[in-house]
Symmetry: C2
Subunit: 222 residues, 2 copies
DNA sequence: TAGTTCGGAGAACGGTTGTTTACTGGATGA
DNA sequence: TCATCCAGTAAACAACCGTTCTCCGAACTA
Protein backbone atom coordinates (compact mmCIF):
# COMPACT_ATOMS: atom_id res chain seq x y z
CA UNK A 1 0.00 0.00 0.00
CA UNK A 2 2.50 2.57 1.10
CA UNK A 3 5.81 1.05 -0.06
CA UNK A 4 4.60 0.98 -3.62
CA UNK A 5 5.34 4.63 -4.48
CA UNK A 6 8.39 5.17 -6.61
CA UNK A 7 11.18 7.49 -5.64
CA UNK A 8 9.69 10.13 -7.85
CA UNK A 9 6.18 10.15 -6.39
CA UNK A 10 7.58 9.98 -2.90
CA UNK A 11 9.72 13.06 -3.48
CA UNK A 12 6.78 14.89 -5.02
CA UNK A 13 4.55 14.19 -2.04
CA UNK A 14 7.35 15.32 0.23
CA UNK A 15 7.62 18.68 -1.50
CA UNK A 16 3.86 19.01 -1.55
CA UNK A 17 3.75 18.43 2.17
CA UNK A 18 6.54 20.95 2.64
CA UNK A 19 4.44 23.50 0.78
CA UNK A 20 1.45 22.77 2.99
CA UNK A 21 3.54 23.02 6.15
CA UNK A 22 5.20 26.25 5.08
CA UNK A 23 1.85 27.80 4.17
CA UNK A 24 0.29 26.72 7.45
CA UNK A 25 3.13 28.31 9.34
CA UNK A 26 2.86 31.56 7.47
CA UNK A 27 -0.90 31.57 7.99
CA UNK A 28 -0.44 31.92 11.70
CA UNK A 29 -0.05 35.64 11.24
CA UNK A 30 -1.94 36.44 8.05
CA UNK A 31 -4.91 35.21 6.11
CA UNK A 32 -5.00 33.04 3.04
CA UNK A 33 -6.08 35.74 0.62
CA UNK A 34 -2.97 37.73 1.43
CA UNK A 35 -0.57 34.80 1.32
CA UNK A 36 1.67 34.88 -1.71
CA UNK A 37 2.83 32.00 -3.82
CA UNK A 38 6.43 33.22 -3.80
CA UNK A 39 6.30 33.64 -0.05
CA UNK A 40 5.53 29.98 0.41
CA UNK A 41 8.08 28.64 -2.06
CA UNK A 42 10.73 30.85 -0.51
CA UNK A 43 10.24 29.16 2.86
CA UNK A 44 10.34 25.69 1.30
CA UNK A 45 13.43 26.58 -0.67
CA UNK A 46 12.19 25.87 -4.19
CA UNK A 47 11.62 28.03 -7.23
CA UNK A 48 8.31 29.90 -7.41
CA UNK A 49 7.42 28.14 -10.63
CA UNK A 50 7.62 24.74 -8.95
CA UNK A 51 4.48 25.65 -7.05
CA UNK A 52 2.38 24.98 -10.14
CA UNK A 53 3.52 21.35 -10.18
CA UNK A 54 1.40 20.85 -7.07
CA UNK A 55 -1.39 23.42 -6.97
CA UNK A 56 -3.14 25.55 -9.55
CA UNK A 57 -3.26 28.48 -7.12
CA UNK A 58 -3.30 29.32 -3.41
CA UNK A 59 -7.00 28.54 -3.20
CA UNK A 60 -6.36 24.95 -4.14
CA UNK A 61 -3.63 24.71 -1.53
CA UNK A 62 -6.10 26.12 0.97
CA UNK A 63 -8.63 23.41 0.22
CA UNK A 64 -5.94 20.80 0.74
CA UNK A 65 -5.18 22.38 4.09
CA UNK A 66 -8.84 22.15 5.05
CA UNK A 67 -8.85 18.42 4.49
CA UNK A 68 -5.68 18.03 6.48
CA UNK A 69 -6.92 20.21 9.34
CA UNK A 70 -10.40 18.78 9.71
CA UNK A 71 -9.23 15.22 9.11
CA UNK A 72 -7.43 14.77 12.39
CA UNK A 73 -10.17 16.48 14.36
CA UNK A 74 -12.68 14.23 12.72
CA UNK A 75 -10.95 11.15 14.06
CA UNK A 76 -10.89 12.48 17.61
CA UNK A 77 -14.53 13.46 17.76
CA UNK A 78 -15.50 10.14 16.29
CA UNK A 79 -13.72 8.55 19.22
CA UNK A 80 -15.63 10.73 21.67
CA UNK A 81 -18.97 9.91 20.12
CA UNK A 82 -18.24 6.20 20.39
CA UNK A 83 -17.90 6.43 24.18
CA UNK A 84 -20.81 5.47 26.39
CA UNK A 85 -20.14 7.46 29.54
CA UNK A 86 -22.73 9.36 31.47
CA UNK A 87 -23.41 12.93 30.37
CA UNK A 88 -21.21 14.56 32.99
CA UNK A 89 -18.09 12.55 32.33
CA UNK A 90 -18.61 12.73 28.62
CA UNK A 91 -18.63 16.51 28.72
CA UNK A 92 -15.40 16.58 30.67
CA UNK A 93 -13.83 14.09 28.27
CA UNK A 94 -14.98 16.08 25.26
CA UNK A 95 -13.57 19.36 26.46
CA UNK A 96 -10.34 17.65 27.48
CA UNK A 97 -9.96 16.19 24.02
CA UNK A 98 -10.55 19.57 22.42
CA UNK A 99 -8.02 21.10 24.76
CA UNK A 100 -5.45 18.48 23.89
CA UNK A 101 -6.11 18.85 20.19
CA UNK A 102 -5.61 22.59 20.35
CA UNK A 103 -2.29 22.07 22.04
CA UNK A 104 -1.17 19.51 19.47
CA UNK A 105 -2.40 21.23 16.32
CA UNK A 106 -2.71 24.94 17.07
CA UNK A 107 -2.00 25.97 13.50
CA UNK A 108 -4.75 23.79 12.13
CA UNK A 109 -7.27 25.27 14.54
CA UNK A 110 -6.14 28.80 13.81
CA UNK A 111 -6.44 28.14 10.09
CA UNK A 112 -9.97 26.75 10.28
CA UNK A 113 -11.19 29.52 12.57
CA UNK A 114 -9.66 32.18 10.34
CA UNK A 115 -10.71 30.85 6.96
CA UNK A 116 -14.15 29.65 7.95
CA UNK A 117 -15.39 33.12 7.06
CA UNK A 118 -12.28 34.14 5.16
CA UNK A 119 -11.85 35.74 1.80
CA UNK A 120 -11.45 32.65 -0.38
CA UNK A 121 -14.75 31.17 -1.48
CA UNK A 122 -13.49 27.68 -2.31
CA UNK A 123 -11.92 27.34 1.12
CA UNK A 124 -15.03 28.64 2.89
CA UNK A 125 -17.13 26.10 1.09
CA UNK A 126 -14.70 23.29 1.85
CA UNK A 127 -14.81 24.11 5.55
CA UNK A 128 -18.59 24.45 5.54
CA UNK A 129 -18.88 21.10 3.85
CA UNK A 130 -16.61 19.36 6.33
CA UNK A 131 -18.39 20.90 9.31
CA UNK A 132 -21.68 19.83 7.83
CA UNK A 133 -20.60 16.19 7.51
CA UNK A 134 -19.35 16.65 11.02
CA UNK A 135 -22.72 17.77 12.34
CA UNK A 136 -24.32 14.94 10.41
CA UNK A 137 -22.23 12.39 12.30
CA UNK A 138 -22.90 14.02 15.62
CA UNK A 139 -26.62 14.03 14.84
CA UNK A 140 -26.53 10.33 14.03
CA UNK A 141 -24.76 9.61 17.31
CA UNK A 142 -27.18 11.74 19.30
CA UNK A 143 -30.16 10.10 17.68
CA UNK A 144 -29.10 6.66 18.82
CA UNK A 145 -28.97 7.79 22.43
CA UNK A 146 -31.92 7.16 24.79
CA UNK A 147 -32.11 10.85 25.60
CA UNK A 148 -33.23 11.55 22.05
CA UNK A 149 -36.27 9.32 22.16
CA UNK A 150 -39.25 11.02 20.63
CA UNK A 151 -37.17 13.82 19.13
CA UNK A 152 -37.83 15.05 15.65
CA UNK A 153 -34.92 14.66 13.27
CA UNK A 154 -34.85 18.37 12.73
CA UNK A 155 -34.43 19.02 16.42
CA UNK A 156 -31.66 16.45 16.72
CA UNK A 157 -29.89 18.17 13.88
CA UNK A 158 -30.41 21.53 15.56
CA UNK A 159 -28.79 20.19 18.71
CA UNK A 160 -25.92 18.63 16.78
CA UNK A 161 -25.10 21.95 15.16
CA UNK A 162 -25.21 23.61 18.53
CA UNK A 163 -22.64 21.12 19.81
CA UNK A 164 -20.34 21.32 16.79
CA UNK A 165 -20.43 25.07 16.84
CA UNK A 166 -19.57 25.07 20.51
CA UNK A 167 -16.57 22.83 19.94
CA UNK A 168 -15.17 25.03 17.19
CA UNK A 169 -15.78 28.17 19.22
CA UNK A 170 -14.16 26.65 22.28
CA UNK A 171 -11.11 25.60 20.30
CA UNK A 172 -10.70 29.08 18.85
CA UNK A 173 -11.20 30.69 22.25
CA UNK A 174 -8.59 28.40 23.77
CA UNK A 175 -6.12 29.44 21.12
CA UNK A 176 -6.75 33.12 21.75
CA UNK A 177 -6.45 32.58 25.48
CA UNK A 178 -3.08 30.90 25.17
CA UNK A 179 -1.71 33.48 22.81
CA UNK A 180 -2.34 36.61 24.82
CA UNK A 181 -0.50 34.99 27.64
CA UNK A 182 -2.83 35.71 30.55
CA UNK A 183 -2.10 33.10 33.16
CA UNK A 184 -5.42 31.44 33.94
CA UNK A 185 -7.17 32.45 30.73
CA UNK A 186 -7.08 29.00 29.15
CA UNK A 187 -8.35 27.41 32.33
CA UNK A 188 -11.25 29.80 32.49
CA UNK A 189 -12.20 29.04 28.91
CA UNK A 190 -12.19 25.33 29.68
CA UNK A 191 -14.28 25.72 32.81
CA UNK A 192 -16.73 28.05 31.10
CA UNK A 193 -17.03 25.77 28.11
CA UNK A 194 -17.80 22.78 30.32
CA UNK A 195 -20.63 24.66 31.98
CA UNK A 196 -22.05 25.80 28.69
CA UNK A 197 -22.12 22.22 27.49
CA UNK A 198 -23.77 21.20 30.75
CA UNK A 199 -26.42 23.84 30.36
CA UNK A 200 -27.11 22.63 26.86
CA UNK A 201 -27.23 19.09 28.16
CA UNK A 202 -29.80 20.13 30.76
CA UNK A 203 -31.83 21.89 28.13
CA UNK A 204 -31.75 18.74 26.11
CA UNK A 205 -32.99 16.63 29.00
CA UNK A 206 -35.99 18.91 29.59
CA UNK A 207 -36.68 19.72 25.97
CA UNK A 208 -39.62 17.42 25.41
CA UNK A 209 -41.47 18.08 28.63
CA UNK A 210 -41.14 21.79 28.07
CA UNK A 211 -42.20 21.69 24.46
CA UNK A 212 -45.19 19.41 25.09
CA UNK A 213 -48.30 20.41 23.24
CA UNK A 214 -46.51 22.75 20.88
CA UNK A 215 -45.62 20.09 18.38
CA UNK A 216 -47.89 21.41 15.66
CA UNK A 217 -46.44 24.88 15.33
CA UNK A 218 -44.81 26.01 12.14
CA UNK A 219 -46.30 23.07 10.30
CA UNK A 220 -46.13 23.26 6.54
CA UNK A 221 -43.05 25.43 6.46
CA UNK A 222 -40.22 22.90 6.20
CA UNK B 1 -22.98 70.34 18.31
CA UNK B 2 -23.15 69.30 14.71
CA UNK B 3 -23.41 72.63 12.92
CA UNK B 4 -20.21 73.77 14.47
CA UNK B 5 -17.84 72.02 12.07
CA UNK B 6 -16.25 74.23 9.49
CA UNK B 7 -16.40 73.51 5.80
CA UNK B 8 -12.94 72.03 6.05
CA UNK B 9 -13.61 69.52 8.82
CA UNK B 10 -16.90 68.56 7.23
CA UNK B 11 -15.20 67.74 3.95
CA UNK B 12 -12.52 65.78 5.74
CA UNK B 13 -15.07 63.64 7.55
CA UNK B 14 -16.85 63.10 4.28
CA UNK B 15 -13.79 61.63 2.56
CA UNK B 16 -12.96 59.67 5.64
CA UNK B 17 -16.41 58.11 5.52
CA UNK B 18 -15.97 57.51 1.80
CA UNK B 19 -12.77 55.60 2.58
CA UNK B 20 -14.57 53.50 5.17
CA UNK B 21 -17.45 52.78 2.80
CA UNK B 22 -15.16 51.88 -0.07
CA UNK B 23 -13.10 49.58 2.13
CA UNK B 24 -16.20 47.91 3.52
CA UNK B 25 -17.44 47.25 0.02
CA UNK B 26 -14.16 45.76 -1.12
CA UNK B 27 -14.03 43.62 2.01
CA UNK B 28 -17.09 41.74 0.90
CA UNK B 29 -14.87 39.55 -1.24
CA UNK B 30 -11.49 39.65 0.44
CA UNK B 31 -9.99 40.00 3.86
CA UNK B 32 -8.46 43.02 5.48
CA UNK B 33 -4.88 41.80 5.41
CA UNK B 34 -5.03 41.56 1.63
CA UNK B 35 -6.78 44.87 1.08
CA UNK B 36 -4.49 47.48 -0.43
CA UNK B 37 -4.34 51.16 0.35
CA UNK B 38 -4.28 52.06 -3.33
CA UNK B 39 -7.22 49.82 -3.99
CA UNK B 40 -9.35 51.79 -1.56
CA UNK B 41 -8.30 55.23 -2.69
CA UNK B 42 -8.89 54.21 -6.31
CA UNK B 43 -12.54 53.47 -5.53
CA UNK B 44 -12.98 56.72 -3.64
CA UNK B 45 -11.33 58.65 -6.43
CA UNK B 46 -8.52 60.34 -4.51
CA UNK B 47 -4.76 60.06 -4.67
CA UNK B 48 -3.15 57.18 -2.76
CA UNK B 49 -1.18 59.56 -0.61
CA UNK B 50 -4.33 61.24 0.66
CA UNK B 51 -5.03 58.06 2.61
CA UNK B 52 -2.42 59.06 5.17
CA UNK B 53 -4.37 62.19 6.02
CA UNK B 54 -6.95 59.91 7.66
CA UNK B 55 -5.32 56.66 8.72
CA UNK B 56 -1.79 55.57 9.51
CA UNK B 57 -2.37 52.22 7.79
CA UNK B 58 -5.10 49.73 6.87
CA UNK B 59 -5.12 48.31 10.36
CA UNK B 60 -6.21 51.65 11.77
CA UNK B 61 -8.97 51.87 9.18
CA UNK B 62 -10.02 48.38 10.22
CA UNK B 63 -10.36 49.39 13.84
CA UNK B 64 -12.52 52.33 12.80
CA UNK B 65 -14.70 49.90 10.85
CA UNK B 66 -15.08 47.75 13.95
CA UNK B 67 -16.48 50.65 15.91
CA UNK B 68 -18.85 51.50 13.12
CA UNK B 69 -20.00 47.90 12.66
CA UNK B 70 -20.51 46.99 16.29
CA UNK B 71 -21.96 50.34 17.16
CA UNK B 72 -25.26 49.93 15.38
CA UNK B 73 -25.66 46.37 16.55
CA UNK B 74 -25.02 47.52 20.07
CA UNK B 75 -27.96 49.85 19.94
CA UNK B 76 -30.33 47.20 18.70
CA UNK B 77 -29.42 44.58 21.27
CA UNK B 78 -29.68 47.16 24.00
CA UNK B 79 -33.25 47.69 22.86
CA UNK B 80 -33.95 43.98 23.02
CA UNK B 81 -32.54 43.66 26.51
CA UNK B 82 -34.74 46.46 27.73
CA UNK B 83 -37.89 44.60 26.75
CA UNK B 84 -39.83 42.72 29.38
CA UNK B 85 -41.61 40.08 27.36
CA UNK B 86 -41.91 36.46 28.32
CA UNK B 87 -39.07 34.17 27.26
CA UNK B 88 -40.83 32.82 24.19
CA UNK B 89 -41.74 36.13 22.63
CA UNK B 90 -38.40 37.59 23.54
CA UNK B 91 -36.59 34.88 21.63
CA UNK B 92 -38.71 35.46 18.57
CA UNK B 93 -38.16 39.20 18.82
CA UNK B 94 -34.41 38.74 19.24
CA UNK B 95 -34.00 36.53 16.21
CA UNK B 96 -36.21 38.84 14.17
CA UNK B 97 -34.05 41.81 15.08
CA UNK B 98 -30.90 39.93 14.14
CA UNK B 99 -32.50 38.96 10.86
CA UNK B 100 -33.46 42.53 10.12
CA UNK B 101 -30.05 43.80 11.05
CA UNK B 102 -28.36 41.33 8.72
CA UNK B 103 -30.55 42.53 5.90
CA UNK B 104 -29.83 46.17 6.62
CA UNK B 105 -26.10 45.93 7.26
CA UNK B 106 -24.84 42.80 5.54
CA UNK B 107 -21.38 44.23 4.95
CA UNK B 108 -20.89 45.07 8.60
CA UNK B 109 -21.83 41.56 9.64
CA UNK B 110 -19.59 40.02 7.02
CA UNK B 111 -16.73 42.20 8.15
CA UNK B 112 -17.04 41.29 11.82
CA UNK B 113 -17.43 37.58 11.13
CA UNK B 114 -14.41 37.61 8.82
CA UNK B 115 -12.04 39.71 10.86
CA UNK B 116 -12.98 38.32 14.25
CA UNK B 117 -10.29 35.71 13.70
CA UNK B 118 -8.63 37.51 10.81
CA UNK B 119 -5.02 38.31 10.12
CA UNK B 120 -4.78 41.77 11.67
CA UNK B 121 -4.10 41.70 15.38
CA UNK B 122 -5.33 45.21 16.21
CA UNK B 123 -8.67 44.51 14.54
CA UNK B 124 -9.05 41.15 16.24
CA UNK B 125 -8.47 42.78 19.60
CA UNK B 126 -10.90 45.59 18.83
CA UNK B 127 -13.61 43.10 17.96
CA UNK B 128 -12.87 40.96 20.99
CA UNK B 129 -13.06 44.04 23.18
CA UNK B 130 -16.40 45.15 21.77
CA UNK B 131 -17.89 41.68 22.07
CA UNK B 132 -16.66 41.53 25.63
CA UNK B 133 -18.39 44.77 26.58
CA UNK B 134 -21.33 43.33 24.78
CA UNK B 135 -21.38 40.17 26.88
CA UNK B 136 -20.93 42.34 29.94
CA UNK B 137 -24.12 44.22 29.18
CA UNK B 138 -26.04 41.06 28.45
CA UNK B 139 -24.82 39.60 31.72
CA UNK B 140 -26.00 42.66 33.62
CA UNK B 141 -29.42 42.40 32.01
CA UNK B 142 -29.68 38.69 32.70
CA UNK B 143 -28.68 39.16 36.29
CA UNK B 144 -31.55 41.52 36.96
CA UNK B 145 -34.07 38.98 35.75
CA UNK B 146 -35.94 36.78 38.25
CA UNK B 147 -34.75 33.67 36.40
CA UNK B 148 -31.21 34.39 37.53
CA UNK B 149 -31.96 34.39 41.23
CA UNK B 150 -29.35 32.48 43.14
CA UNK B 151 -26.98 32.30 40.18
CA UNK B 152 -23.29 32.86 40.61
CA UNK B 153 -21.89 35.80 38.70
CA UNK B 154 -19.58 33.48 36.84
CA UNK B 155 -22.47 31.39 35.62
CA UNK B 156 -24.44 34.44 34.52
CA UNK B 157 -21.42 35.53 32.55
CA UNK B 158 -21.09 32.06 31.06
CA UNK B 159 -24.68 32.23 29.90
CA UNK B 160 -24.26 35.73 28.51
CA UNK B 161 -21.34 34.63 26.38
CA UNK B 162 -23.35 31.71 25.14
CA UNK B 163 -26.09 34.10 24.02
CA UNK B 164 -23.77 36.63 22.40
CA UNK B 165 -21.90 33.93 20.60
CA UNK B 166 -25.16 32.52 19.34
CA UNK B 167 -26.24 35.88 17.98
CA UNK B 168 -23.00 36.42 16.09
CA UNK B 169 -23.06 32.88 14.74
CA UNK B 170 -26.68 33.22 13.66
CA UNK B 171 -25.98 36.48 11.89
CA UNK B 172 -23.06 34.97 9.99
CA UNK B 173 -25.07 31.88 9.12
CA UNK B 174 -27.90 34.03 7.82
CA UNK B 175 -25.50 35.87 5.59
CA UNK B 176 -24.08 32.66 4.17
CA UNK B 177 -27.57 31.31 3.66
CA UNK B 178 -28.65 34.33 1.67
CA UNK B 179 -25.55 34.40 -0.46
CA UNK B 180 -25.57 30.85 -1.78
CA UNK B 181 -29.09 31.48 -2.95
CA UNK B 182 -30.82 28.33 -1.75
CA UNK B 183 -34.49 29.19 -1.46
CA UNK B 184 -35.48 28.33 2.10
CA UNK B 185 -31.98 28.39 3.55
CA UNK B 186 -32.38 31.65 5.44
CA UNK B 187 -35.71 30.54 6.86
CA UNK B 188 -34.22 27.32 8.10
CA UNK B 189 -31.41 29.18 9.82
CA UNK B 190 -33.94 31.41 11.56
CA UNK B 191 -36.10 28.52 12.69
CA UNK B 192 -33.12 26.51 13.86
CA UNK B 193 -31.67 29.47 15.70
CA UNK B 194 -34.93 30.08 17.52
CA UNK B 195 -34.99 26.51 18.74
CA UNK B 196 -31.40 26.66 19.86
CA UNK B 197 -32.16 29.73 21.91
CA UNK B 198 -35.20 27.99 23.35
CA UNK B 199 -33.14 24.99 24.33
CA UNK B 200 -30.66 27.26 26.04
CA UNK B 201 -33.52 29.04 27.75
CA UNK B 202 -34.85 25.71 29.02
CA UNK B 203 -31.41 24.77 30.25
CA UNK B 204 -31.29 28.05 32.08
CA UNK B 205 -34.61 27.44 33.76
CA UNK B 206 -33.53 24.06 35.08
CA UNK B 207 -29.92 24.95 35.80
CA UNK B 208 -30.15 25.38 39.55
CA UNK B 209 -32.31 22.37 40.32
CA UNK B 210 -30.02 20.22 38.25
CA UNK B 211 -26.83 21.53 39.75
CA UNK B 212 -28.11 21.31 43.35
CA UNK B 213 -25.56 19.94 45.77
CA UNK B 214 -22.64 20.41 43.42
CA UNK B 215 -21.94 23.98 44.36
CA UNK B 216 -18.59 23.26 45.93
CA UNK B 217 -16.88 21.71 42.94
CA UNK B 218 -13.84 23.28 41.43
CA UNK B 219 -13.35 25.41 44.50
CA UNK B 220 -10.10 27.30 44.66
CA UNK B 221 -9.48 27.35 40.97
CA UNK B 222 -10.83 30.70 39.88
C1' DT C 1 20.38 0.53 -22.74
C1' DA C 2 17.54 4.10 -25.22
C1' DG C 3 13.71 6.99 -25.02
C1' DT C 4 10.24 9.26 -22.34
C1' DT C 5 8.34 11.51 -18.43
C1' DC C 6 8.19 15.22 -15.27
C1' DG C 7 9.59 17.91 -10.85
C1' DG C 8 12.18 21.68 -10.52
C1' DA C 9 15.36 25.83 -12.08
C1' DG C 10 16.06 30.21 -14.25
C1' DA C 11 15.12 34.36 -16.58
C1' DA C 12 12.13 37.58 -17.99
C1' DC C 13 7.35 40.00 -18.43
C1' DG C 14 4.07 43.66 -17.15
C1' DG C 15 1.80 45.18 -13.34
C1' DT C 16 0.93 46.50 -8.52
C1' DT C 17 2.27 47.68 -4.00
C1' DG C 18 3.51 51.09 0.22
C1' DT C 19 5.95 55.16 1.10
C1' DT C 20 8.69 59.61 0.46
C1' DT C 21 9.19 64.11 -0.98
C1' DA C 22 7.73 68.47 -2.74
C1' DC C 23 3.93 71.12 -4.17
C1' DT C 24 -0.96 73.46 -4.83
C1' DG C 25 -4.98 76.02 -3.64
C1' DG C 26 -8.94 76.87 -0.99
C1' DA C 27 -10.68 77.34 3.88
C1' DT C 28 -9.28 79.61 8.14
C1' DG C 29 -8.55 83.03 11.70
C1' DA C 30 -6.32 87.48 13.14
C1' DT D 1 -6.95 91.66 3.71
C1' DC D 2 -3.09 88.70 4.48
C1' DA D 3 -0.39 85.07 6.42
C1' DT D 4 -1.19 80.31 7.97
C1' DC D 5 -2.97 75.78 7.80
C1' DC D 6 -3.82 71.47 5.72
C1' DA D 7 -6.58 68.04 2.65
C1' DG D 8 -5.43 66.44 -1.51
C1' DT D 9 -2.01 66.10 -5.76
C1' DA D 10 1.78 64.43 -8.55
C1' DA D 11 5.98 62.04 -9.50
C1' DA D 12 9.22 58.87 -8.42
C1' DC D 13 11.17 54.95 -5.66
C1' DA D 14 12.54 50.19 -4.86
C1' DA D 15 10.32 45.99 -3.81
C1' DC D 16 7.35 42.53 -4.75
C1' DC D 17 3.82 40.01 -7.18
C1' DG D 18 1.71 36.00 -10.45
C1' DT D 19 2.56 33.92 -14.66
C1' DT D 20 4.83 32.40 -19.11
C1' DC D 21 8.31 30.11 -21.53
C1' DT D 22 12.47 27.39 -22.01
C1' DC D 23 15.53 24.22 -20.37
C1' DC D 24 17.87 20.49 -17.33
C1' DG D 25 18.65 16.07 -15.33
C1' DA D 26 17.22 12.33 -12.61
C1' DA D 27 13.68 8.86 -12.32
C1' DC D 28 10.90 6.08 -14.96
C1' DT D 29 9.48 2.44 -18.74
C1' DA D 30 10.08 -0.75 -22.28
Amino acid sequence: MSHSLGVRQAQKQKTRQALLDAALGLLEEQSLSSLGLREVTRVVGIAPTAFYRHFRDMGELGVALVEEALGSLHVMVRAILAEQDAAEERIDRTVAVVEQHVRQHPLHIRFVARERHGGVRAVRQAIAGELDRFAQEVAAALKSQPASEGWRDEDVRMLAELYVDRLVTTAAALLDAEEDGAEGAAGQVVRRSRRQLRLISIGRRHWREDRRGEGEEERGEG
